[in-house]
Symmetry: C2
Subunit: 150 residues, 2 copies
């Protein structure tokens, strides 16, 4: 688990991951090497899994966003779903969930036609029985990033 110092370091990195160790050190009251040692340890233990860029999807031409509930055939393993979905660049996040659906995938596409095409291809996957999707009208809130890169 993390102590207070680690948490403040992570918070500083969440705001700007390219901030220098000296800067962070001044913020939390540590020297630059001390901060680096803690960050290295956080990476080693898996608390920090990496550093990434924060992107404006619209500016990149990804204007259409949606969530796709995926209903799978019986006896589909999470690994099968993962391998099936990670091949789509448009799928930026996916999880297995409780409730009616088996998994939810978050999809970014350039426009409606693109979104529809991706949806059709996912629905055509052998492990997929049916899908139900909702489109995002407007993003209200986005905080930080979680998980590991693929």
């Amino acid at each position: 688990m993390l102590n207070d110092l680690d948490e403040r370091i992570v918070h500083a990195l969440a705001e700007d991951a390219r901030r220098s160790y000296a800067d962070i050190g001044q913020l939390v009251g540590l020297s630059a090497p001390a901060v680096k040692r803690r960050v290295d340890r956080l990476r080693a233990t898996g608390a920090i899994t990496g550093f990434t860029v924060r992107v404006d999807p619209a500016a990149l031409g990804w204007e259409t966003e949606g969530f796709v509930e995926i209903h799978c055939r019986r006896n589909t393993s999470p690994e099968t779903i993962q391998r099936g979905l990670e091949r789509y660049q448009e799928v930026v996040a996916a999880s297995t969930v409780t409730g009616d659906a088996d998994a939810i995938a978050q999809v970014f596409a350039s426009d409606m036609r693109h979104f529809e095409r991706v949806l059709e291809r996912i629905a055509g996957e052998p492990f997929v029985e049916r899908t139900k999707s909702v489109l995002v009208l407007s993003p209200l809130l986005r905080r930080f990033s979680s998980g590991s890169p693929t």
Copy 2:
């Protein structure tokens, strides 16, 4: 809009935002200053909104994740929903959507009891009529981060 070079630079930064400009340059066939100039321009135009750390929620003690569909009372504006939800640290993302629900919020909590408490508080908001939530069983995939910091 972005050309091929910019897209490859963003991709490289998505994998590791602390990678050096020289490294990225080697990857895309440019010199370090050329890469920096392009990154600066991408930040200026808003395509890149920042750099952040990728965190393992479980390692930080956020073991319980879920999506909350929110059904609002009639005539609730997106701004009202945003202002209502941004006060919850546990809500890491939210959007208005098409379909049955009016909005979907992504929630991280330390455990089930915490999740339930947040859910009850959200359900108690004056603009909320009812909620329906699904719990994440296992994250399968997470790609990059989008949007602006709060």
